[in-house]
């Protein structure tokens, strides 16, 4: 896109090229008829995990993907991360097809996956070190981020001295420290108890809304939890049961900043009910292994 800026629009060849290559700037991620599958190592049989998925994500959107267990959410997220290749179609990021991991993307892993031989600060610094971005300014930023997620006091502690929630905070800080344009989160709070989970959601929203931490950034967040999805999302994508395809696309028009106490308000509950209904339909009724209705709805 950029290179067309420097050439004359009068040249017919260039004009042609320009019109075909310029996309609406607002579309940051383009998922274009994507299928992803695995070949079994034992039998060699190929099985789709994601089938013919198509949607776009605009710049600055916080998108939450929700779907039943095993439907292919992780598979899709890893394809966006560049860890898994797509078998059909294309995922584009700012117009360029994804070929592998890149510094503009960060992944918050489902399990914290910290390096046990590094203390908290050095775990966060690893992301900078790997991208040769380690300097006094980024070091300061790492410290600020750890402060922001409430880990100021344990920066010199080792992972085995931390609780699960603290580890997940480090995981989050490590992903944010490189100022990613696109933050990918795979059920980051899935293993936490309900209370810690609530605190962490709030912190993520805070970090997300913290002005100094970035411009218009994108997030792609995976969860099982309907309440969590509505609380965090600008937009919720409901995946069908395996192999995953897009079952519903719901915009969440709730104002920000969002606060934990809003979760019980009627607007939130309405959205939660709607997402839950879509989820039931998408997974083919209640007998498909879906969890019982989450707390927010049953009360």
């Amino acid at each position: 896109m950029e290179k067309t800026v420097f050439v004359s629009q009068d040249d017919p060849k260039v004009a042609n090229l320009t019109s075909s290559s310029v996309r609406p700037e607002a579309n940051y991620v383009e998922v274009d008829h994507v299928s992803i599958g695995y070949r079994s190592r034992k039998t060699g049989i190929y099985k789709d995990a994601v089938v013919d998925l198509s949607f776009d994500i605009r710049r600055g959107e916080f998108v939450v993907i929700i779907g039943t267990s095993g439907c292919g959410k992780t598979t899709f997220l890893e394809a966006v991360a560049g860890l898994t290749p797509v078998s059909k179609g294309q995922i584009r990021l700012g117009g360029k097809p994804i070929r592998g991991p890149g510094p503009e993307r960060s992944l918050v892993f489902q399990s914290p996956s910290l390096f046990p031989w590094r203390n908290v600060r050095d775990n966060v610094l690893f992301a900078l070190q790997a991208q040769h971005k380690l300097n006094s300014e980024t070091r300061q930023r790492a410290d600020d981020l750890l402060d922001l997620v409430g880990l100021k006091g344990v920066m010199d502690s080792f992972p085995h001295e931390l609780s699960g929630g603290m580890k997940q905070r480090v995981n989050l800080a490590r992903a944010l420290v490189t100022r990613p344009e696109l933050l990918l989160l795979d059920e980051p709070f899935g293993a936490l108890d309900a209370q810690t989970r609530g605190v962490m959601q709030h912190e993520l929203v805070n970090v997300w809304q913290a002005a100094d931490l970035g411009e218009a950034r994108n997030a792609l967040f995976i969860t099982h939890d309907v309440e969590e999805a509505v609380y965090l999302a600008d937009r919720i994508l409901v995946f069908s049961k395996a192999p995953a395809s897009l079952a519903a696309d719901i915009s969440i028009d709730l104002p920000r900043p969002r606060l934990p106490e809003h979760k019980r308000s009627s607007e939130y509950i309405l959205y939660q009910d709607r997402v839950l209904n879509e989820l039931y339909t998408a997974s083919g009724g209640a007998s498909s292994g879906l969890e019982p209705a989450p707390k927010g709805v049953s009360q």
């Binding site: 860890l83 399990s111 390096f115 031989w117 590094r118 070190q129 991208q131 085995h160």
Partner: protein
């Protein structure tokens, strides 16, 4: 560089209401292993000394602890032992240094590159199974009877366990670490240095411990055959001169060196890899 893990052996549960005991008893309880170990050694030494005093054994053939101590004093005060000790230390030192420099990078690479691993695994297994002493005549034939041959045997003895352990460690790498490295766009050098090496360090240090034990044996065996000096040669000549006290003194020095080295590695294992237990 790191927070040492709390050493449990030093913490004693002093539950309320229990009668206080003298400090030495507390120490003895928490160090019972050391206490028993020292006791065992003392029993053997005293028994040995007693049999010598009672004339049950011939001290010119068996020596006895007190005579060994005397020999030790004269060896060190006359400076006679420094030559052999230095020679052995030099062989083991150079041999281990070269072993570390070769085996650790090689082990890391072999563990990562499956094709190389499959290619070399049978060879390494064979080389590790054949007693390395068997290669000594060949080494002498190729490299003569100089110090190089002795160092070479040390390397030959020490290198296989370290390669095998390092490779095993790499192949056991937690796949999560690999994904984190990939996701952070770590280059190859960063990956090897800052992820693979530290993740494998517990295995590497175990390998080093095995390696040192074999290096010491390799050095002594080489000295037996390539009579050029060193503790092995010293013990051998002392024995053939019927100077059993000096021979035993040499063996004792070797034993102390082996224990110190093993302890040193053990300490490194605890300090550098405290995270792998917790």
């Amino acid at each position: 560089m790191s927070i040492a893990p709390p050493d449990e052996r030093f913490s004693v549960d002093n539950t309320e209401g229990e009668p206080m005991e003298p400090a030495w008893m507390t120490w003895g309880r928490s160090h019972s292993k050391v206490v028993y170990g020292t006791f065992g050694v003392a029993v053997v030494l005293i028994a040995w000394q007693l049999t010598a005093w009672l004339g049950l054994v011939n001290v010119t053939i068996s020596s006895d602890p007190i005579r060994i101590i005397r020999a030790e004093i004269s060896l060190f005060s006359s400076g006679q032992i420094w030559g052999p000790l230095g020679a052995t230390a030099q062989e083991v030192g150079w041999g281990m240094l070269i072993t570390l420099v070769i085996s650790i990078p090689l082990g890391l690479i072999l563990g990562r590159v499956t094709a190389l691993y499959d290619m070399t695994e049978p060879i390494i297994n064979v080389l590790n199974s054949v007693p390395y002493v068997l290669f000594l005549p060949v080494i002498i034939f190729w490299f003569g009877i100089g110090e190089e041959s002795r160092i070479l045997l040390v390397i030959w003895a020490a290198t296989m366990p370290l390669i095998i352990n390092t490779t095993a460690g790499v192949r056991n790498l937690n796949p999560d670490y690999l994904r984190v490295a990939k996701m952070c766009c770590a280059g190859r050098w960063t990956f090897y240095r800052s992820v693979l090496f530290p993740a494998t360090l517990p295995y590497i240090l175990t390998g080093v411990r095995l390696s040192i034990a074999r290096a010491l044996v390799g050095a002594i065996v080489a000295e037996f055959f390539l009579s050029g000096g060193g503790l092995g040669y010293f013990v051998q000549t002392a024995t053939s001169n019927f100077d059993m006290d000096s021979a035993m003194a040499g063996i004792f020095i070797m034993a102390v060196a082996a224990v110190v080295l093993t302890r040193l590695i053990g300490r490194m294992e605890r300090n550098f890899t405290h995270w792998s237990q917790g």
